[in-house]
Structures are given as C-alpha cells and as structure tokens.
Symmetry: C2
Subunit: 254 residues, 2 copies
Amino acid sequence: MHATEGSLLERRLILLTGAAGRIGSAFRQAHGARYLFRLADLKTDGLDDTPGDGHEVIRLDVADAAACAEACVGIDTVVHLAADPSPEAEWEGSLLANNIRGVVNVFRAASEAGCRRVVFASSVHAVGGLQDEAPIPDNAAPRPTNLYGASKAFGEAVAATYAAQGLSGIAIRIGAYDAPWFREQGDAVAAMAYVSPRDLNDLLVRCIETEDIPYAVVAGISDNARKRFTLEHTRGLLGYAPRDDGFAVLGLDP
Amino acid sequence: MHATEGSLLERRLILLTGAAGRIGSAFRQAHGARYLFRLADLKTDGLDDTPGDGHEVIRLDVADAAACAEACVGIDTVVHLAADPSPEAEWEGSLLANNIRGVVNVFRAASEAGCRRVVFASSVHAVGGLQDEAPIPDNAAPRPTNLYGASKAFGEAVAATYAAQGLSGIAIRIGAYDAPWFREQGDAVAAMAYVSPRDLNDLLVRCIETEDIPYAVVAGISDNARKRFTLEHTRGLLGYAPRDDGFAVLGLDP
C-alpha cells in the first residue's frame, strides 16, 4: 500500500463539488488514495478515472438545496469548488444561482448534516480593487471590482455565518491557477497571483486536515518573487510552504 | 424661507428606498426641506406627509430590476434603506429577493442612470461575530453570524464593485436604532451599538453631501459611553460628531 493510502475506514470522506473542473480534477488525481471522495459536478464525465478505490460519483447542481442536503450526508469535509468561475459571469443568468444560492445551499447542508468543515474556493477577485503595488494581507476586507468577486466575498461571509453555528469554515482566495492562458498571456500582475497545481493541492490538504480553526480566510498563491498577498497569515495558520514562482514560470524579471 | 430650504432646482434629488420604514420616515421628516425626495417603498401609505414641496411618491419593489432602473432616472444620490431588516429573516423566502437581488438591482440601476452616489444601509450585523469587549474598527472585515448580516456584507461588496465603475458608494453599518424594544429591553451590548434618530439623520446628510469619497464603509452609532465601533474612520472621513449616548438613554452605568 502506498504510504499515503489508508483503508476505506481510515480515509476522510470528502465531498468535492466542482470535481470535474480544473482545480477539482488536479486535486482528486493527486489525492484519490489519501481521501475517500464523493465526487460531485453538473457533468460527471471523466470522474471515474480518479485513482484509489471506493469513490462515489454523483451529479450535483448546487442551486438545488435538497440535492446539496443529500450530498452532505456522512461527509467529514466539504471542499466546495463548484461555481461559475468567470469574472465576467452574468448576474441573473448565472452568479445568482451558482455562486450565491449555491454557496448558501452547500454551507447550510453541511451544517445540518453535522459535517466538520467546509473549505470554500474564494478568489483573489474578492479583493481585486485593493491596490496591487505591495502585497496585501491574506485576509484583508473584501474590495471586489465585479459581481463575481462580490459573490466570492459573500461566500466568505456565509462561511463566517455557519462558523458561528459550529461548522468550521476556511475560505481560500485562489489566485491565477496555472493554465494555458497564464503561460501564453500572463504578465507581472498575473505572476504576483500565480498558484501552481501542486501548491494549491498542498494548501487544500492543509485546509482539510489542520485542526482547531473555527473560521479563516487564507490566500492561495505560490511563492511568487513578488506577491499579491503577504502569505503571513496563511503560513502561520497552516504551515503552508509553497514551492513555485509565477515569475519563473513566465520567465519574467520580478 | 427656512435657512436649509432651497428652491426646487437647488435641492439635491434623492431616491429614498424604504421611505416608509422607521429610518426612512425619520429622515424624510427631518430633511424634506433640504432635499427633493423621490420616496419609494412597497407600501406608500403615509409618504404624502413629508414636509417640503415637490416630492414624488412611487411604489417600488427593489427585487424588480426594471422598476429600479426607472426609479433612478435623474437622481443625484440614492439612499438605499429598503431591505428585510430582520436578523432572523428567511433566506429563500425573503433575503434572496429583498437584500441580495435588491441591492444589485439598485446599484446597477444607479450606475446605469449615471447617479453620483449610493448610500447603503449596511448593519452592525455584518460584523456581529467580532468580539465585543473592545471597540472594533469602523470598517473591519465582515464577520456575520446570520444570513441577514451576510446579505449586508454582500451589499458592501456590491458597493465596492460599482465604485470600481465610477459610482461613489458609502455603506453605513447601522447599529441599534432607537425603538421601543431598545428602551424596554436594551442592555449594555445594545447600548454600545445604539444610534439615535438625530445622530443617524446627521450621518446620512454627511454621507450624501461629503465630496470625493469613491468608496467607504462607516459606522452608524451614537457617542455611546462604550462603543461597538471606534468611530475614528467615520469621524475623520465625514466630520461626524454624534451627540447621544445609549447608556444615558437606558440609564445604565457604562
């Protein structure tokens, strides 16, 4: 057995929403032996390729409160990635259902099912309006410039709401996740917010496993030569030690 | 003519949503000569008693985006008070329509109509989860304990979003507004967040008239002997000088 693979009973049961997306796919590919996943997405194609045995695959629309309630039964930690990920997303057409109602449905369901924790994919867009010459505190007050960012700030507030009722909640302000666009069009501003798949995977594990955190907002970026966030709070709380650098990835002089 | 009364052309045109509520009624009664109001609420009974000439009365459901667009035409400043004001409000039944969709509809309509500013009634509940032994910064990062407070934190984020597009936005975290319940059941915790009608009326005038504020979150409490907020930021930005004290109102020893 691989060093990180436990028996079915020893592995934490994780509900991974948005499991078919880029971040969700990288995470389940990396940690299918470490966790027992309930893999949830609107489209479930390809979820069967997750390494490790015992995973479940379910179709889940997070705008459906009853489906969220069912999906949370028996779960230890929800990793809630499902959302419209576009900063240009339409409000009535998408954000309202997928990001606003979705995040309330998921936290409420997790709370009512007695889950231990929700790890919520917030975004650097929650603070997109803060000046970007110097690194900002990881958990600075929100200052979005678009309704996508406002929807992520709302998710952070929903995490606080359910934390007050005993459900541990950690929001990660995820930066510019490695992607073809980043390598083709990334500039110094993007490099400051870069996060590599292996650094974000490591951060997600720490967010799942670190005990005694009722509520936190942390920053999900790599060890970029110049940084969008200071990372002080995130390192101190979780022992996060990122290894990659967006400026090196792009071959840019910091 | 009264010193504060200008001609119709000199008076700012203010859209007051929630004009029939307690805060809206105290404000229009106090400043019907200073401003030219478009008075808007779900029920318009009693709005005709506003002092001063030239006011308009309209029925407005802020969940109706087209109605909000119409209500903002020609307006200088929107004072957006309309919302479900209950910390126990239902999510699907009320907050989603009145507080979430409502606040986006109003800011978007104000932005598209070219209004100068929106003054938004946020709440002390946006930060209800922060410890209350010592005063907290007026604009501390949100930490609600209920979905009502989360809806107000969202409104603050929406204000930031439209500020990035050039619409000035000021959110007031309104405390415990003077009311029979306060005088009957108020305790030291309520006294720390107390705000009198005359102090809040004065703060609203300052939020409407102070120039050159792209975006701000300020605190709406009186000069309580012990305070929920420091008031430093609010005093510095707006020259706010509250006169009342919740401990004196209740006859409590601070």
